[in-house]
């Protein structure tokens, strides 16, 4: 989908006669530069969109248009315009991070972050954040304000008091429903393919839908049109290859990654797990007005169940196959540019699936009857087939976006776990694997249609006041009803360096998980997403926010703060006491503060988030993902041209959990060893249950961690080598992340298990 990012100054628009459109791209890589500023006479008149595209309208005359971008040397072109004529300009900016301080400040004011509240990370940012063994574009987002995580190992994104499934994650505007490897430890996205990512923490634009909290939008690289290049990298976990270059009149990108510990360790022991993913993209400009592109993404995780150690006398046979899960994404898009806008038509397919037909064992019972003693059958998938069109119009004083989308969503969930053998194998239980209180056998198939239409109008009311009016209508045939989502945002430029914004938006989510007990399980690859059966199951939320941005509050430092309040309806609440799932109301409120330094010896940011996420059923209680205070600091020390040191520190309030305060006997079981006739039970066979207090009234101790890393950059034999050493959890904080009280063990009545140890990582990437 193409998002018109054009801002036209009112004075220009009133007298506009000639149309100038064009692209701004990276000189070396030919990648489109998103958010580049087009300047005329020192004034910003346009900003490039996600394709690096811009449009401006000017009256007749001679102009010097300048394209500028943070980290690039600006480029100026002279143009003589005649009324009612159109012109095409191409800017190729040369990377030059030191010389653009002033432009950087100016650019922030006119970029995507001016139109909507966003946080943006580029390839450079991703490489400056310490990693957990594997560089991860989703985990990097956890360093931003308003984002919390459940524990050290998790890469789930909890936005502003919302659950993890309330964050929509997209790759090139295609939703990805299972974006995790290893059950939520790593994302499926190889950092090498990511050009940039944009996080909308709340109040996201109407062009997105189906997210109660926010959107994380990743954009992949288009590839270098001029020359073949690439990256080969190896770390402790995986080996990666990235290739890009010209192909025909277009450009391609190919990348692949595979973990390798199984290949090495299987020589010594049984290491049953690996994953791989690969990505391909081809962009073909037909002419200056038309572009076709095709994307493909594939990821797969394989978990080998352990081989049988042999059959006992009563076991007949044993079959052992793999559990697997992954994603398939494909997208074909066509973009047409015309005088004052663009038309983007795309079709995509996004599928997440998990399956197993594995580990069946047949045995003979005492009476020689043959029966299965255990089996695992899983066949889960979610398929989203979509056609989408977006029309962007740049009219006098306003930019209009019209989007129409048709989705066919097919969900199929089937599993049959006999004797919960899967639980034993992966050290979990059924509800961890599928959803809270999931049964051992489950079957559900749905095939539904979703139609979405949206319009947004970005209006420049005065030179210092802009407004965005939006409206989205969604039709769900699963409930045979419409969902209405208005949107409103005002931005006031109080001073040249001070900006105030007010936003309102209504949001719905019609695909959701039934996982709420995140402290015990977080996420599993088999987690199904469900469609609502009626309107009362559709999650809904009203977002209100007010923000302030203060550029250059200190030299080279920007400050921003945004407060928010979100009402939340029909949100999930798992009642661990009664083993039930109910829908409740709630709200979230808080404020995110960010102080960011973009230039100098030290760059990075310091941010603080206050957040309250409350649910209300019979009484009010904290959501299980509520963290009241979160303080984060990310510092990059530019030691030299070759070396950079980075450090990431976080302190956050511990997550709440429901304490067990008592235990009771729920039953007596058989006692086969009883010597007394008629006595079929005994005290050895008491079945204990826990008795819980009020929900989420106790918290773990505060969450804290320090990660550090050092990265190098050297040129060896014409190749650029980038070695890195990073250490996660330097002071071994051992953050608690699980509550697992057991009635027969008083030693854990406080419930806290401890977190991860110090985890070092080394690796190197070679660019050519």
């Amino acid at each position: 989908m193409k998002n018109a990012l054009i801002l036209l100054l009112l004075s220009n628009l009133l007298l506009a006669k000639a149309f100038i459109r064009g692209y701004v791209k990276d000189y070396n890589t030919n990648e489109p530069l998103i958010g580049s500023i087009i300047l005329e006479g020192g004034m910003g008149i346009a900003v490039t969109d996600s394709s690096g595209f811009f449009v401006v309208t000017l009256k007749e005359g001679t102009y010097h248009l300048t394209a500028s971008m943070l980290g690039y040397k600006h480029e100026t072109k002279e143009i003589n315009t005649t009324a009612n004529q159109e012109y095409v300009l191409f800017f190729y900016l040369v990377p030059q991070p030191i010389e653009i301080e002033k432009v950087t400040v100016f650019g922030e004011r006119f970029s995507e972050s001016q139109k909507y509240k966003t946080y943006e990370l580029t390839t450079v940012d991703l490489k400056n954040i310490p990693v957990f063994i594997e560089s991860d574009p989703i985990r990097a987002v956890q360093a931003l304000p308003g984002v919390t995580q459940s524990h050290d190992l998790s890469d789930l994104v909890f936005l502003r008091g919302g659950n993890f499934d309330e964050t929509l994650i997209t790759l090139d505007d295609v939703p990805v429903y299972n974006p995790h490897h290893a059950g939520g430890v790593y994302s499926i996205f190889n950092t090498d393919i990511v050009e940039r990512e944009i996080l909308y923490p709340s109040n996201y634009p109407v062009k997105f839908s189906n997210a109660l909290s926010g959107v994380l939008s990743l954009y992949s690289k288009d590839g270098n049109c001029d020359k073949i290049g690439g990256v080969g990298a190896i770390g402790l976990l995986s080996g990666k290859v990235f290739l890009e270059g010209p192909l025909g009149t277009g450009s391609f990108v190919l990348s692949g990654r595979r973990t390798y510990p199984d290949l090495i360790l299987n020589t010594f022991t049984d290491f049953p797990y690996y994953f791989y993913d690969f990505n391909g993209k081809y962009s073909l400009p037909i002419d200056n007005n038309n572009l076709i592109s095709a994307n493909f993404f594939y990821s797969k995780d394989i978990y080998r169940l352990y081989e049988s150690t042999g059959l006992s006398s009563r076991e007949i046979d044993y079959k052992n196959e793999d559990l697997n899960w992954g994603n398939i994404i494909g997208k074909l898009s066509y973009i047409h540019l015309f005088d004052n806008g663009s038309l983007d038509i795309a079709g995509y397919f996004s599928s997440s699936n998990s399956g197993a037909d594995a580990k069946t064992k047949r045995v003979k019972d005492e009476r020689d009857n043959v029966r299965e003693s255990e089996h695992i059958i899983i066949d889960n998938y979610l398929r989203d087939l979509s056609l989408k069109s977006n029309l962007a119009l740049n009219l006098t004083g306003q930019s209009i976006n019209l989007t129409l989308q048709y989705n066919r969503i097919n969900t199929n969930y089937y599993w049959d776990i006999l004797d919960e053998t899967l639980s034993q194998d992966i050290n979990g239980n059924i509800q961890d694997i599928f959803f809270d209180f999931a049964p051992t056998r489950f079957s559900q198939t749905k095939n539904k249609i979703v139609i979405t239409a949206s319009i947004s109008d970005e209006i420049i009311l005065t030179p210092s006041l802009t407004a965005i009016l939006g409206y989205r209508m969604t039709y769900l045939n699963s409930i045979s009803d419409y969902l209405h989502s208005p949107y409103l945002r005002f931005t006031f430029k109080l001073m040249n360096s001070l900006e105030l914004s007010l936003s309102y938006g209504k949001y719905h989510q019609y695909l959701f998980t039934n996982k709420d007990l995140i402290y015990s399980s977080t996420y599993a690859p088999f987690t199904p997403y469900f469609l609502p059966k009626n309107k009362n199951e559709v999650r809904s939320s009203d977002h209100y926010s007010a923000g302030l941005k203060w550029f250059e509050i200190f030299p080279d430092m920007d400050f921003e703060v945004e407060g928010y309040y979100k009402s939340r309806n029909n949100i999930l609440s798992s009642d661990a006491i009664n083993n039930t799932i109910v829908l409740v109301t709630g709200y979230a409120l808080g404020a995110d503060l960010l102080l960011k330094k973009t230039e100098g010896f030290i760059t990075g940011w310091l941010n603080y988030s206050f957040s309250r996420s409350i649910k209300e059923d019979k009484y009010k209680y904290y959501a299980s993902y509520d963290r009241t205070h979160t303080l984060k600091a990310l510092l990059n020390f530019n030691l030299s041209e070759s070396w950079q040191f980075n450090a990431y520190w976080i302190y956050a309030t511990g997550l709440p959990y429901t304490p067990a305060i008592g235990k009771y006997l729920s039953g007596l079981d058989y006692d086969p060893d009883s010597a007394e006739a008629g006595r079929y039970y005994g005290l050895n066979n008491f079945i204990w249950e826990l008795y819980y207090g009020r929900k989420n009234t106790v918290r773990y101790s505060g969450y804290t961690r320090l990660d550090i890393g050092v990265t190098g950059r050297f040129i060896w034999w014409g190749l650029i080598a980038k070695p890195y050493l990073q250490i996660l959890n330097v002071y071994r904080s051992m953050n608690a992340f699980d509550y697992d009280p057991r009635p027969d063990d008083t030693s854990v009545h406080d419930g806290s298990k401890r977190g991860s140890e110090i985890i070092p990582t080394i690796g190197i990437s070679i660019e050519f």
């Binding site: 404020a591 235990k663 006997l665 006739a677 249950e689 008795y691 207090g693 009020r694 009545h749």
Partner: protein
């Protein structure tokens, strides 16, 4: 300035919300666990009643046995049959060492459970009254018991025994137990001990069962016990329902029917 007012409002909301006390854990309400099985064909009836334990009390091992609060010993129990006969003469039985098991038992066999009759329970523990009804199962009988031919299986001389019974109404499943009794000698004293080496359950479509015993073993006798269970016990034991046929207590009230036969081998 207007901006300041907006942010002061936000700060006020945050402070107000921060002060909201959502951290009251709640008190440990006393819950009761009640286990009542009215067993047809058996003189001695046993009932178990317990209270909630605080989470801090260990239960691996039996230290909870010394926790008097756990055991209910102040209850009033009464059963009323269809003819309005009331049976409420039950006593607390404690193991000699007092540490492991306390249960209510019938006093002097006054409460002989009659087959196929509805009993109404009224149980009062502390201030809680627990009421329920249960219809007892019919009497069960083993009508045939036959010894088969001795045979050699892997060097062991074994003798099969086949016994059969008629299924009874409302029985959901059966359990067979086989217990060997044998002479046990230690320090020149001789006593009879036992071991249970078959314990099997099956649904009501089965009417006979074959067991074997080692002819050359030291067993003195063999006891076979057949027990039928009603739907309440089925739901509790096999379907793992915590609360069966009770409204304000965990556990169950149900009925079983038992028959045992002792086979002298020597």
């Amino acid at each position: 300035m207007r901006i300041n007012k907006i942010y002061l409002s936000f700060i006020a909301i945050m402070i107000f919300t921060s002060c909201e006390n959502l951290n009251e854990i709640g008190s440990l309400d006393t819950k009761y666990s009640v286990f009542i099985n009215l067993t047809v064909n058996q003189n001695k009836q046993e009932f178990y009643f317990y209270r909630t334990l605080p989470i801090e009390i260990a239960i691996n091992g039996y230290p909870f046995g010394s926790n008097d609060d756990f055991f209910v010993d102040n209850s009033y129990i009464s059963f009323t049959d269809e003819n309005e006969n009331i049976f409420d003469n039950f006593i607390m039985e404690m193991k000699p060492d007092g540490y492991i098991n306390r249960k209510y038992i019938t006093n002097n066999s006054e409460f002989y459970v009659i087959p196929e009759i509805e009993y109404t329970l009224q149980l009062q523990i502390d201030d809680v009254v627990i009421k329920s009804t249960v219809k007892t199962l019919p009497k069960i009988d083993i009508y045939k018991l036959e010894f088969g031919e001795e045979k050699n299986e892997g060097g062991l001389i074994i003798t099969p025994i086949v016994f059969s019974w008629e299924n009874i109404d409302n029985a959901m499943y059966y359990i067979v137990e086989r217990i060997h009794y044998y002479t046990y000698q230690f320090n020149e004293s001789t006593s009879l001990s036992s071991s249970n080496n078959i314990f099997d359950y099956f649904h009501a479509d089965q009417k006979d069962y074959e067991i074997t015993y080692n002819t050359s073993s030291e067993s003195d006798s063999l006891k076979i016990t057949l027990t039928a269970f009603d739907i309440n016990l089925f739901q509790h034991f096999l379907q793992k329902n915590d609360q069966v046929n009770l409204t304000n207590a965990y556990g169950y009230i149900g009925s079983s029917s038992v028959i045992d036969t002792l086979i002298k081998l020597k």
